[in-house]
């Protein structure tokens, strides 16, 4: 079974991102970039499927500008077999990413596509579901466990209030939640090996997709500041303040 994994280049999750002074965009100058954490979980899951003998080949795909090849190499170092870079310019909306991924799906015919549930920059949580609609594939979003059983994929999903299990016909789409697995670190020999793995580059035109723009970002701003309050001496003072000052308990 062929598995396609989508990875996105984003600001490293340890970086506290700020709006630029003029509010035109976020300030990403000299900021450390990394593979989106949810995408890293997706790569790990695909590699584990290969190690378990379920997957035969793992292909890592990324949509973005040239530097996102670094993140494809990261995926290759973690165990993906080959990479595909769909080269685009500027910000690409989830709908367009989904269309480009659909183009790759048609080329590669994977039985399973694994994506992160959201990227930690745009926080959209859309691409996997959109790809599902465009390819008419079923989806197991926010997955915390997946299991291939014959022609079906069982997915345990993290939903409000608990866990839901669904059974999907293959080919299918999975989007990862945090607890699906804990990604490994790439070893130095594997990082070296990854440099030699095949990486093909396509343009949107190669995939027959027109890059459209539906959303304009008018401005960005910091969220309303919450001011630090006071330190109370002890529990008695805390209860007193909550009762008589904040009036949130009686």
């Amino acid at each position: 079974m062929k598995v396609l994994v989508a990875v996105k280049r984003v600001v490293d999750y340890n970086v506290k991102v700020r709006a630029k002074g003029d509010g035109s965009d976020v300030d990403l100058n000299n900021v450390k970039m990394a593979i989106n954490p949810f995408c890293e979980i997706a790569v790990e899951e695909a590699v584990r499927l290969k190690e378990a003998g379920v997957a035969t080949e793992v292909i890592a795909v990324s949509v973005g500008e040239k530097p996102c090849q670094e993140q494809i190499r990261t995926a290759l170092a973690l165990g993906a077999d080959r990479g595909i870079h769909v080269e685009t310019e500027g910000r690409v909306e989830p709908l367009v990413v989904a269309k480009l991924l659909k183009g790759v799906v048609e080329k590669e015919q994977p039985q399973l596509v694994i994506l992160g549930k959201q990227s930690i920059d745009g926080d959209n949580n859309q691409t996997g579901q959109m790809l599902g609609a465009l390819t008419n594939m079923p989806q197991g979003t926010f997955a915390s466990e997946i299991k291939v059983e014959g022609e079906k994929l069982n997915v345990i999903r993290e939903v409000d209030g608990g866990l839901q299990t669904v059974s999907l016909s293959l080919p299918a789409i999975v989007t990862t939640d945090l607890r699906l697995n804990e990604p490994r670190y790439a070893s130095l020999p594997n990082i070296m090996k990854a440099k030699k793995k095949q990486l093909d580059v396509f343009t949107p035109a190669d995939l027959g997709v027109e890059v459209t723009r539906h959303i304009t970002q008018l401005k960005v701003e910091p969220p309303p500041e919450r001011k630090a309050g006071i330190k109370v001496e002890d529990v008695a003072q805390l209860v007193d303040k909550l009762k008589n000052e904040a009036k949130v308990i009686s």
Binding site: V11, K16, V17, R18, V26, L95, A98, D121, G122, D123, N124, N125, Q126, T127, G128, Q129, M130, L131, G132, A133, N136, P138, Q139, T141, F142, N154, E158, V159, D160, G161, Q164, T165, V166, S167, L168, S169, D177, L178, R179, H214, I215, T216, Q217, L218, V220, E221, P222, P223, R226, A228, G229, I230, K231, V232, V235, L238, L242, A246, V248, I249
Partner: protein, 309 residues
Amino acid sequence: MSTLVIAEHDNSSLKPATLNAVAAAQAMGADIDILVAGADCSAVADQAKAIPGVGKVLVADNAAYEHQLAENVSLLIAELAANYDNIVAPSTSNGKNTLPRVAALLDVAQISDIISVESADTFKRPIYAGNVIATVQTSDAKKVITVRTTAFDAVAAEGGAATVEAVSSVHDAGISTFVGQEVAVSDRPELTAAPVVISGGRGMQNGDNFKLLDGIADKLGAAIGASRAAVDAGFVPNDMQVGQTGKIVAPDLYIAVGISGAIQHLAGMKDSKVIVAINKDEDAPIFQVADYGLVADLFNALPELEAAL
């Protein structure tokens, strides 16, 4: 202008998140209809028609919609979308699961997790885990939108008299089936709807110690939450997680116990009206957002607090 709000429900009762989504729809200034897609869900339709300001409640009552599988429901919503300018759902796991499929079927962008309506085509939404608020404008004539429920005050649940209309079209994509659901059973209020939330973090040290929160939660009628650190450490199940990647809450009172205050966590609770932090590390970032901070060992402070309430 007209808006279709997707009801959040479990076939027997309408969930409060629907009322927040209706509030967002009202801010868009359009006529509002509600879709209840489920099976044997007439009780939900009865509740939905009582929401003031709603014109019609569309009820798609069919086995294909029983578990609100995104593959099926998205086809239904995309069909109904022909009659509407806006499709709106709360950012619940259902809303997040289904609406992007609808947007793709309609070939429009989705605007996720809006926190305000600036005009008919312009909205604010948090990005980068809530560190930045973006104002975005869409050029799509048909808008597909999910709503951060804590950002919109719920509309009244009673007083309206909408008409109820059955929707007969059945969409069964036949590619997914529901197998089962494990729902955490609790006598406590739901995290996202509770007026008081008390959450434990890594400082709780283990799952057993979360029992120290029980007595306080009982006295305050509170829901119990947790930080991602506590969930990742296996102290408590994931559905208790409050944060950017867990539940977003905004209760009247939020009590953070043994939580350092990572950005991830703050993004999920900083809109609470009053925040209390109990932590033995006086430099913990949680104190920067707390209205009342108590620097203390939680193992002393929690029994004292329970006794004092």
